[in-house]
Symmetry: C2
Subunit: 314 residues, 2 copies
Amino acid sequence: MTEVEVFAPATVSNVGCGFDVLGFAIEGVGDRLSVTLRDQPGVEILSIEGAGGTIPRAPAHNTAGVAALTLLEGVGERNRGLSFRIHKGIAAGSGLGSSAASAVAAVLAADEILELELPSEQLLTFALEGERIASGGVLHADNVAPCLFGGFVAVRSLHPPDVVEIPVPRGLCCALVRPHIQIQTSESRALLGNAIPLSTAVHQWANVAGLVAGLFRDDWDLISRSLEDVVAEPVRGSQVPGFQEMKEAAIESGALGCSLSGSGPTVFALCRGPETAEAAADAMLEAVGKATGLAADRHTTTVGAGGARLLQVT
Amino acid sequence: MTEVEVFAPATVSNVGCGFDVLGFAIEGVGDRLSVTLRDQPGVEILSIEGAGGTIPRAPAHNTAGVAALTLLEGVGERNRGLSFRIHKGIAAGSGLGSSAASAVAAVLAADEILELELPSEQLLTFALEGERIASGGVLHADNVAPCLFGGFVAVRSLHPPDVVEIPVPRGLCCALVRPHIQIQTSESRALLGNAIPLSTAVHQWANVAGLVAGLFRDDWDLISRSLEDVVAEPVRGSQVPGFQEMKEAAIESGALGCSLSGSGPTVFALCRGPETAEAAADAMLEAVGKATGLAADRHTTTVGAGGARLLQVT
């Protein structure tokens, strides 16, 4: 084979109470990446389309580049060389796992073209190293894991990787609205500080228990009650202009719950059924426009779409 | 009716990672309580057997008394009077929900003899007020809720009460060993401090997600990996002489995991099947004797037995 092309989906992370732990893949949005072998050792990024020139092409400063370099190093293939072309379908700094998608796409494509057949846990670990440079050094896999595996997942542990698939009720959908501003994950993380009150932490893991139970037993009311995030949203919500207005609009439209995707600015609302998701997306879009005058776009999806996959091998 | 007798089971709370949230009822151990109407308003406690005279009979200082007084006040029946006799089957300060059981027994018996037919959420709220005086003022319902409802539960919220039943795999058993020392919940709670590192909190709720998922899908390995408590056990474990030795002995016997029940000193080990639970209990008992010379007793049970119930009405 001379060229491999892959797709890696956008993801919603920090799902409600599941900060750094719960994430899911969405459909219809993602990055495409193609890779060819090159004669020189190391990684080069020949082009990045769709990001308006904002993403560095230097491999050591690019999530796909770092992930691929870590893979080459990790499997003792540092004499091999890879050339990437990246087509960004996910806006950088949107809160939809843009950096994770490129990192996952890079390791999946590298694994394929080098015919390594690495176990998925190892791909996850290499992709995480790419993600690390986007998140201020704090490792979290709630974008990378659902991007790689698809579905709705809980990341129980990073060392060693332990990713738990959580089933979702049939008809669980998601409305997404992205105001056109950028938020840097690393800066947003610094806002959270290093410690939280024990009582707040208990509140959060009580909701995590409720949310996982609600998803397993198709209990829509329990899902709705449990989505509440008392850790990140109270701090980060104010960073996103119009967030409260979007949240109120989503809930009024019948959404089960509404919070920030990743560190924002994209706001997600989980909904029962596609019609409610459409209505919530419309209402949120209108609300953010009215409250802030910002341009924004909207998307709806089922929750827990497929993960990263090969598109073609030539 | 002139007399009502009820039983309320012992409970394991703080199940592994589920500090203040996850608890389950055990079989074969609990408090019995009988109630009669009295002519004067208010509550009196005529006798407390089985506790060696260590539990105050003054209603305002007794968990059953406070729970019953709160109930009378809460339902506008403060002119009614109740006389209790309590037979403690659970040692006070053992970490097995002794105070919660007496409080639950009191509200269940009061509800019956006064023919109130209160909703269970209300009984829970009144029982919690009794529990409050035993826990240093911090409300937590992971003893009261499984004691009242039975089973394995997650307490998602206290205000309003939201108790989520979690199914457990068939054959999930528990070994319990209680070294003969007492630990006051209120003092043990103070040791934990008021704040925890955010990274520790994330670690804990990642395990909560894993544990709940493991219980739902009968995934014994996932249950085992997820039981780990990184919040309370590291602080409280050293309060219980021989804890590490008991834990090692339990794991060597094949237990899925081992931690403190409540704030200890009782140590619980979850096991697959009754034979493993028997072996773990034996090994833990031997280990604590060898390490500390303390007297101790052991018990084995299925996980998630029945909740509080009427024994007889005469």
